[in-house]
Symmetry: C2
Subunit: 277 residues, 2 copies
């Protein structure tokens, strides 16, 4: 029997493996070691520095939730910025909104875009959409140059290790909120409640300094550490504003109205942490 495993060790006390049929591509880019693997169960997977970024089988929980929660809250977003997100999964969801006039993707690594276009056709090649503008550069400078510019910002990043650590800093959140247009909303990849409790609480404290209605929410993603990931919703507008917004055309595979509300229900131990009780 094939016994090749991709074993992910993001935490010193927990690891996870998925069985690999074959490695479809791998390359040391200027920024990271990039692999696309075909797995036994989860379809193709994008792996950066040994960490699973997405799989065909369960990425919908991530991409639908990071995107639609702020997009629906804003209602008719016109300008959207995606920080990271070179795989195109969030971009695909953003482009479902007829109101969107421009979607800027600020991705540091062109190779993530190139390989994703080749190996994740289900994302529908959103980089070929005329509304998409791909900037291959670091997001910090771009955020500084564009205050008050975006109705929605998604921070769709890797984990806070190495070059991505700054994307979880107070400074990043300050720049991100400054780049929002009035009435805008952001959502950020914000780690695992059981494993990363202290970091999440710190980011929530930052978000509360900067905006009136930040809130943490969660999605099930079996191939992520601990089986899921959370997001920080950051806005002066409550997330509940999105509950009555009609969905854009296209199919949802994770989000529905019950899941939208449920995502903000935090396990009691974690609710207490976030409330400072």
């Amino acid at each position: 029997m094939n016994n090749i495993w991709l074993t992910e060790e993001l935490h010193p006390y927990y690891r996870k493996g998925i069985r690999v049929k074959r490695v479809l591509a791998e390359e040391q880019t200027p920024y990271q070691f990039l692999q696309v693997v075909e797995t036994e169960f989860f379809g193709n997977a994008l792996v950066l520095d040994g960490i699973i970024q997405l799989t065909e089988a369960d990425n919908m929980g991530y991409h639908e939730m990071i995107t639609h929660v702020p997009m629906l809250a804003v209602g008719n977003p016109r300008r959207v910025l995606i920080v990271g997100g070179g795989d195109g999964g969030s971009l695909q969801q953003v482009l479902r909104y007829p109101s969107v006039e421009e979607a800027v993707v600020c991705e540091l690594d062109q190779k993530v875009v190139d390989y994703s276009r080749q190996y994740f056709p289900a994302f529908g090649d959103p980089f070929s959409d005329p509304r998409t503008r791909l900037l291959v550069r670091d997001a910090f400078g771009y955020l500084e140059e564009n205050p008050g510019s975006f109705d929605v910002i998604l921070s769709d990043t890797t984990d806070p290790i190495g070059m991505a650590e700054r994307l979880f800093s107070d400074e990043f959140y300050r720049l991100m909120v400054r780049a929002l247009a009035p009435g805008g909303a952001a959502a950020t990849q914000c780690e695992q409640p059981y494993f990363d409790t202290a970091l999440i609480r710190q980011i929530y404290a930052s978000a509360r300094q900067l905006t009136r209605h930040p809130a943490y929410y969660y999605a099930q993603i079996p191939t992520y550490p601990g089986g899921g990931i959370g997001f920080m919703y950051v806005s002066d507008r409550p997330w509940e504003d999105g509950l009555n917004t009609p969905y854009p055309p296209g199919v949802n595979n994770y989000l529905n109205p019950q899941v939208h509300r449920a995502a903000f229900a935090l396990p009691e131990f974690f609710r207490r942490v976030m409330a400072g009780e």
Copy 2:
């Protein structure tokens, strides 16, 4: 650095490891290979045939959700049966209800009880409670002998492998429902939506033949495969009956009113599967 891992391989395409400080106990019982290990992050863990049953850090999601959803729906349950559950975690939650007069635990393996009493003191030694009645026997015969007897039944079992496979059969569900008193409710350990979709759908079909208001719900448990587990609520009484029941004395660490409702919100792909769409 200590590099000892407990690696769990319950599915052929997915595995998970937790770092182990030391093995506190191990024994081949008449039924299974039992281990208690001290882990780096999750506290002590009970492991049966290499599969993590519970850890001190994240068992609350499992035990509070399997127990309180049916208990609160019934309101003032007096007689409760736990099938399996020799670790005492569910029993501890059941005994929080002053209405409970008798809690029968039908556990096949006395050793699970013995080691859990020693290594999981946070469960409060519920087997010493005078309302507890421990029966070391197979549950099938006991269910057959006791029709119409229990206000709440919890099927708190291992996975459907080997001897436990029968506990996921139509026959088991028929006997379990028959053992409920009028107005009673059951909840069963019912696997992972992404990994065990077909089995869950089959059990749901059985439950719909037997009762009016079955429903599937989910809890986050990072140390379980895919990071969580679901439960089948099985009753003629809707689970929503429990939303306004006051909690019993004692502390909740996972359940709160928002989580109670949120647990029944199924990801859209899975909602469609369950609805037969």
